[in-house]
Amino acid sequence: MSSENAHARWRRSATTLGERSAYKKVWDGQAEDFDVASLAVAGHMDEATMDLTARGFIDTLRATVGLDPNDVILEIGCGIGRIGKPLSRECLHWFGADISGGMLGHAAARLRGLPNTSLVELSTVGLQEFPSDAFDLVYCTIVFMHLFEWDRYRYVEEAFRVLRPGGRCYFDNYPLDSEHGWKVFTEGARYPLDRRPAHISMASTREELGIYLAKAGFQDVRIHDLPNELIAATGQKPG
């Protein structure tokens, strides 16, 4: 084959792999109607189940990083605002950030009438829309499995920047070394190479999450095994 063909093929393959990085496109594509968006981000569509799972997550936050009524909180990848709705009743102000404007459109409808909530569309990977040293707590749940590792770390770095000194962070993913994690991994492995969905779930390891938080500068880094078969990494910005 000629080198020109090889270059063309290389460009095409780069585009295919790059689809995962086109987070805005991928998630806007899944936000066309509320039911599809709910399934994509929460795995179910009914409000009662969503509220129940959100309350379960709030309990997890309380147990791992603590919650204070004066907290100014940022959620990275808030989707349709599943957690923001109940959590906003337990903090001073809740900010939800997402790269998908379509998802935020659904979130805005769900959070109508809650004055201490704000939604922000991220222009790209990172939290460049937010100032430094602003938040008491930054968390990101059920998001890392859809990101490339570099982008996971980018959000950890950015969380460090936007947290006030003494602020806490929380990031979760499913672990490769659990039964569930291995099942998801082997299911993903069965996809033909050229038909892997851009948003396919990818596990983390405990070491990976711990390294991200430590390299970003967090102290008191801990890895938690959660009852729902996820692992969470938490840490505190030196204050």
Partner: protein
């Protein structure tokens, strides 16, 4: 009295002081958190205007507007060309009829005599400042003259220099013989960066405001070279059609 008497805490009671201090700390924490939430909102408001996303949206909207205007102008130009073509065809038919007539054929010797005599006559001297043809310029027009002119005036902006290295000492618009002198010697740092130093024309920018009365006109952008001859940079037909109220 039965039982112990109720305890009235004194102002010096440490537990009360601790509670008061804790309430004060809580109040300070709340005010500080509220301040940070407000700071985030202000940052977001300011950021919304400055983010790349916003800039790109503004640029896209401007490009769409420009594209729409350009399409409208092209459509108008197409209609004008069709009308002109119909006029030309009509005139060609009329010319054919005239040339086919008896009177045209009878007058042929007289026209031949007239052509011989006109060659013998001296050429009339040109007007005060007719532009010399064939001037070669490097130029760019920031405000394109290729448009339908809707407003009563228009300002042409751009930059130019003659390729023979001489200096431009004035610029003007010649619109059907009416002259509109403009400003020249304006800075164009990016142009100089791109094309290199222009010793005779270090400030090659210009702008010329001119009237655009309704109708079709011949527009010529002209430059005076070293305080002497005027040379045409670009010439084009233009159409001025005021906006309908």
């Amino acid at each position: 009295m039965d039982g112990p008497s109720p305890v009235t805490p004194s102002p010096e009671d440490p537990s009360l002081r601790i509670a008061a201090l804790q309430a004060e700390i809580e109040g300070v924490k709340q005010r500080e958190a509220a301040f940070r939430a407000k700071m985030v909102h202000e940052f977001l408001d300011r950021g919304e205007r400055n983010t790349l996303l916003h800039v790109l949206r503004e640029e896209r909207a401007a490009l769409i507007r420009r594209e729409q205007e350009a399409f409208a102008d092209l459509e108008a130009f197409t209609r004008k060309l069709e009308a002109e073509r119909a006029t030309v065809l009509g005139l060609q038919d009329e010319l054919g009829r005239i040339r086919g007539s008896w009177s045209w054929r009878l007058a042929a010797p007289l026209r031949a005599l007239g052509r011989i005599l006109s060659h013998a006559r001296p050429t009339p001297s040109p007007g005060a400042n007719p532009p010399a043809a064939g001037g070669v310029f490097t130029y760019y027009l920031h405000t394109s003259p290729f448009r339908i002119y809707r407003d009563p005036t228009f300002t042409l902006r751009g930059w130019a220099w003659p390729n023979d290295g001489r200096a431009v000492t004035a610029v003007r618009i010649n619109l059907d013989g009416r002259l509109f002198v403009g400003r020249h010697g304006l800075e164009e740092p990016e142009v100089i960066d791109r094309h290199g130093p222009q010793p005779a024309n270090p400030l090659p920018g210009f702008e010329i405001a001119f009237e655009t009365p309704p109708g079709g006109h011949l527009l010529s952008l002209e430059a005076q070279i070293e305080n002497s001859e005027w040379r045409s940079i670009v010439t084009t037909s233009i159409w001025c059609e005021p906006r309908l109220p």
